[in-house]
């Protein structure tokens, strides 16, 4: 059993409840024990780093210090935005002068000994794909999936140090392992409009609309994502996008952990398909029952 500190991130308690619960379920099924960071706080997300880098670092470093207090040197988070902030803080704190400034804002100083990784990276690097294959009870045969990684899961490569920065494959490989047909998707790392949904919805409509359009072009029945913000822009805002662009997209957008959990036969209540805005039943209906698949 792999024990690892876990940083859920704020959206996991609200708009991406199903990402958090399906992540926990999948990890349990794959023998990964998640140790929640006690009393974790917000990393500051995009707003903090657009205001000041020391402030942003301190907000992240409070959590890294909590991990140090647990006696652990690695933490994982499902959210790429949290991940970027945690990794950026750790990277900037390698500079002693910067670390002193960041620590000056904190009650408990951060020693900067923690490595932050995405849940996706841990699954890709620490779990044998054969183990996953052997645990599949409902292979996803018959569904065509576009894997969308979002802009910051792998970029910039010098900071994120995971997978390829233009053509990442970690989710493609996981989806293939559980029997889905992964369609070649050219916009894997293109930005969805990020946090501009509220102040500049027109930008998100255009950028996320481009992604949905490309997904339709390559014949995807569904998207899978690893980012709460990408998922929200593509799924919750799909109606707004249709309205703005006079389109008629109806493409469900899953978290990769939801489909992984589905294939592993986990409890549907934890996978939270009913939380998705675009009805996923049509896409899930394409999955052939094992008898037919043979």
């Amino acid at each position: 059993m792999l024990k690892i500190a876990y940083y859920p991130g704020c959206s996991g308690q609200g708009t991406s409840l199903e990402y958090d619960s399906s992540t926990r379920a999948v990890c349990r099924a794959l023998d990964i024990e998640l140790m929640d960071i006690p009393d974790w706080s917000c990393c500051g997300s995009t707003p903090a780093h657009t205001v000041n880098h020391v402030l942003s670092s301190a907000l992240s470093a409070r959590n890294l210090a909590q991990v140090e207090g647990m006696g652990m040197d690695k933490v994982m988070t499902p959210c790429p935005s949290c991940l970027t902030n945690l990794r950026t803080a750790a990277h900037k704190m390698e500079d002693q002068e910067f670390r002193a400034k960041s620590n000056a804002l904190l009650d408990v100083p951060c020693k900067n000994t923690v490595n932050a990784q995405s849940v996706l990276q841990v699954l890709a690097e620490n779990v044998d794909p054969e183990l996953i294959k052997s645990k599949v009870v409902k292979p996803l045969t018959g569904i065509r999936i576009a894997c969308y990684y979002g802009c910051i899961m792998n970029r910039p490569p010098e900071l994120m140090r995971f997978d390829h920065h233009e053509n990442p494959m970690a989710m493609d490989n996981l989806m293939t392992a559980i029997g889905a047909e992964v369609v070649p998707f050219p916009l894997k790392v293109e930005c969805c409009g990020a946090s501009y949904g509220i102040p500049r919805g027109d930008i998100v409509a255009r950028l996320s609309g481009k992604l949905l359009d490309a997904g339709r072009d390559v014949g995807a029945d569904a998207f899978v994502t690893a980012c709460p913000l990408c998922q929200m822009n593509l799924d919750l805002r799909q109606g707004q996008i249709n309205h703005a662009l006079r389109e008629n997209f109806r493409i469900p957008v899953f978290y990769y952990t939801q489909l992984l959990g589905y294939a592993l036969g986990l409890d549907r209540a934890e996978l939270g398909f009913e939380k998705l805005c675009v009805d996923p039943r049509l896409a899930l209906g394409k999955i052939k029952q094992p008898a037919q698949a043979r």
Partner: protein
């Protein structure tokens, strides 16, 4: 400045094209951007790779490579008043693809810090959203989505923002009505207090 404008006499070009006077170059500004971003702006040779990959160019006043050039030529006002700074999504495409290893997204971030400090906010809604978000974190220790939406609507005056989405998220229980207060929320509030007192630059 493309199609149909070939007939414009050169003396009238000034009406179509913004012209910057290089004699007004602000050297201190260039030095400050370089120092705060830890990037060597002079190595940018205007290949345009950043702009080619930038998904936000359509919404910008100056493209990201133009911002880089404006910094090189010390055009402080044009940079700090640009809307592009506020619309950069920090997607890291420019940084990833720069052949000279300039962390362009970091340069945009630092210029946005400087614009804030100088009191500019040419995309006000973007600034109000960021401020509302951080106010929520300062108060609760975590981002509280419903509260931050309410604060954003009040501060921006855009009271109908996303009301069409409300039934969807509420029906699915995705917006808790109460924040999740954490024990350490005062520790988080102190981060903000110390930051405001210290006026940290980095």
């Amino acid at each position: 400045m493309s199609t149909g404008r070939f007939a414009v006499p050169y003396r009238k070009l000034g009406m179509l094209m913004q012209i910057f006077d290089l004699a007004t170059s602000d050297q201190a500004f260039i030095a400050e951007v370089e120092a705060r971003s830890h990037q060597n702006i002079r190595t940018c040779y205007q290949c345009g790779n950043c702009t080619a990959g930038c998904p936000y160019t359509f919404a910008y006043d100056y493209s990201v490579s133009q911002i880089m050039r404006l910094i090189q030529t010390g055009q402080k006002d044009a940079v700090l008043k640009s809307r592009a700074l506020w619309l950069c999504g920090s997607c890291q495409s420019c940084t990833t693809r720069c052949p000279n290893m300039i962390d362009v997204a970091q340069v945009m971030d630092v210029c946005r810090h400087m614009a804030r400090e100088a009191g500019y906010a040419t995309e006000r809604a973007v600034k109000v959203f960021a401020d509302s978000f951080l106010a929520s974190v300062e108060r609760h220790g975590r981002a509280y989505e419903l509260g931050l939406m309410a604060a954003y609507m009040t501060r921006s005056g855009r009271v109908f923002t996303d009301v069409d989405l409300a039934p969807q998220v509420l029906m699915r229980g995705k917006l808790p009505f109460k924040p999740h207060p954490i024990q350490g929320r005062e520790q988080v509030a102190r981060i903000f207090e110390r930051f405001r007192k210290g006026g940290q630059n980095a």
